[in-house]
């Protein structure tokens, strides 16, 4: 097999607590040094919160895992200082193309509008992202990454969690005031606490083949229903960097997973797809079934579950990794606020209140996609094919084609942290993620999102005519002013010129409108010409303080 990537091996370092009778006391422990755990560790570190990160292995993820990084995820990594690396190293794509049998049914553009720093998607193997995250965590000096530290027993206590940790040189105990379980779909923490992980198993099997080749395909997502080269099943193709391509072949429930993994057999399937003229080498092969399931609650006392440890979805729609990054984005500023004494502990309940519905949404979309891709009855098959037969000639059928509803950022509707009833109806509603726009800063091109939530703070985003006036931001809240016209000399600091008008349009705002943004960028409240007390009250609410 080909090999475009060699996993790094990180050294085991003997923990100081090894051999001591007393448990080591740590404020924040993260279990699982995968995508979710590393993202959480970096986010916390950038908010000044140190953590201990335990991983049972000594490397980043192996083989083909998450590959499609959605715009919101890229924006979050932009905030964490890694966004540019995804753009440079990954494959940017915005177009999806759907084929039915031997014809193209239609294509769609996921980001039809220009004027965003990040595209709809960047494709990149998960191990690259994890490698950058490890290095970035180390650079902060605040993340104590402990490789080959395997968590055994977990005792959930009123004041934290007591962990038994095994290492190559012996066991030790660790008491975590706060525990973030980011240890994946087979979470050991979840099992140690005996928490049910329930949902639906899909009776289907899929073959993932990562192939090294140089085919004449553009960088886009291609999905085939019932193609001549793989009749009766579906196929999904994605480009990755380094001439690496990922192909998902649907196999059906009756397929023999052992046999389907055999290289010769996989090569025949790939050859049938590519035709005789494109040379290729296999890099990775796996056969999987998938399921949609979740924990009932993502917070259990001082223990939080993030990513696949909390919820699992089918791969169609790229909702696994992207959902996990949003979990970390949601929890970390809250934990930092509680640890910093700026918010009551009850703020942490909002992690479950906000990410629970987001997980449900991901599971719902993922389940619907699976039902479309894998029809389970004659009627389901007839409807699916009918939709596809209509789609090429009739646009009306295209919205019904479901080859995966690709990850969108969660809108935290009904969040307990939002202040309702103060915004104008045109404004981006409370709970919305922030929306990017091109701006000019002191005459130079820039992006709006780069200026929100500096130093992990709340931001007051104020729309004004020229940037000469803005409401006073409460203590600890940053101020960014969007000017409708070119700001004259003597304008306020942090004024961005909305030269294209896109910021005003996308946020639904006019001069005098003001939005309070949480440290994760989501809208906490919208106002028109608010009194200082109203902004302070909204910030208090977003920090989980009871209403006065």
């Amino acid at each position: 097999m080909a090999s475009t990537y060699t996993n790094p091996r990180f050294p085991f370092r003997r923990p100081a607590a090894l051999g001591r009778a007393a448990a080591e006391e740590v404020r924040v422990v993260i279990v699982g040094g995968g995508l979710t755990g590393l993202t959480a560790a970096l986010d916390l570190a950038q908010r000044g919160v140190p953590s201990v990160l335990l991983d049972e292995d000594d490397t980043v993820s192996e083989g083909s895992r998450a590959i499609c990084w959605a715009k919101r995820t890229l924006e979050i990594y932009g905030r964490l200082g890694l966004g540019g690396r995804f753009l440079e190293r990954g494959i940017t794509w915005n177009t999806g193309r759907v084929f039915f049998r031997d014809r193209e049914a239609y294509s769609f553009d996921l980001l039809p509008e220009q004027g965003h720093e990040y595209p709809a998607f960047v494709n990149l193997p998960q191990y690259h992202a994890e490698e950058w995250l490890v290095a970035a965590c180390e650079e902060t000096g605040l993340v104590d990454v402990r490789w080959r530290n395997r968590v055994g027993a977990v005792e959930n206590r009123a004041d934290g969690a007591l962990l038994s940790v095994e290492t190559p040189e012996g066991p030790y105990r660790l008491h975590a005031e706060w525990l973030l379980a980011c240890d994946g779909a087979r979470s050991g923490v979840r099992r140690a606490l005996d928490l049910p992980f329930t949902g639906q198993v899909f009776r289907d099997r899929f073959l993932i083949a990562d192939v090294v080749m140089r085919p004449p395909f553009p960088a886009e997502r291609r999905f085939w229903f019932d193609p001549p080269f793989h009749p009766g099943q579906s196929v999904l193709l994605h480009q990755q960097p380094d001439d690496l391509w990922r192909i998902d072949f649907q196999l059906g429930w009756d397929a023999d997973p052992e046999r389907e993994r055999e290289s010769d057999r996989v090569a025949v399937r790939v050859r049938a797809m590519l035709g005789p003229d494109i040379p290729f080498e296999l890099e990775w092969v796996s056969v999987y079934t998938f399921r949609c399931r979740r924990l009932e609650r993502f917070r259990h006392g001082h223990t939080f579950f993030l990513g696949d440890a909390a919820h699992q979805v089918s791969p169609f729609g790229a909702r696994g990794g992207n959902g996990s990054v949003q979990d970390a984005d949601n929890l970390c500023w809250k934990l930092a606020a509680v640890l910093g004494g700026r918010a009551p502990e009850s703020l942490l309940d909002s992690y479950d209140a906000e990410r629970g519905p987001a997980a449900d949404d991901n599971i719902l979309h993922s389940t619907r996609s699976t039902d479309f891709i894998t029809p389970k009855t004659g009627a389901a098959l007839a409807y699916r094919d009918a939709v596809l037969e209509l789609a090429e000639a009739h646009a009306l059928a295209r919205p019904l084609v479901n080859s995966g509803r690709l990850s969108r950022p969660a809108v935290l509707a009904d969040s307990p942290l939002s202040t309702p009833g103060t915004a104008r109806s045109a404004m981006l509603p409370s709970g919305s993620p922030p929306v990017d726009a091109p701006v000019l800063r002191d005459g130079r091109p820039d992006w709006l999102l780069r200026h929100l939530n500096a130093e992990g703070r709340f931001t007051l985003l104020a729309f004004d005519h020229t940037g000469l006036r803005a409401p006073a931001a409460p203590p600890g809240v940053g101020l960014v002013v969007m000017a409708e016209r070119e700001p004259p000399a003597g304008h306020l600091p942090n004024v961005l010129f909305d030269h294209s008008g896109l910021a005003a349009r996308r946020w639904g705002c006019a001069p005098g409108d003001v939005l309070l943004l949480r440290p994760d960028g989501h809208v906490a409240a919208g106002f028109h010409a608010p009194a200082a007390a109203a902004v302070r009250a909204a910030q208090g609410r977003a920090l989980g303080h009871a209403a006065p």
Binding site: G378, D385, A386, V387, L390, L396, A397
Partner: protein
């Protein structure tokens, strides 16, 4: 808007005959797809989710228990809608 259930087709026999004609020569699977295409075209034409869901519920009820399904009157409240 609610689902209109009073007779509205001007030439019922002609419409029925056209439907049968459309299915002529098709095997079961092809017939099934034809009906499905028809449902999708008509559903899009109606374009009102509430009406569509009402129609789905009514169709399901009419097939499940014919004896227990009285002829709906236009004034009756929506079933399952």
């Amino acid at each position: 808007m609610t689902l209109r259930t009073e007779p509205r087709i001007a030439d019922p026999d002609g419409f029925y005959a056209a439907l049968m004609e459309a299915h002529r020569g098709l095997d079961d699977a092809a017939s099934r797809r034809l009906d499905a295409r028809l449902v999708i075209l008509l559903a899009n034409h109606i374009g009102d989710d509430a009406v569509l869901l009402e129609a789905v519920a009514l169709a399901r009820a009419a097939g499940a228990a014919p004896s227990a399904c009285p002829t709906p009157s236009p004034a009756a409240p929506a079933e399952g809608g």
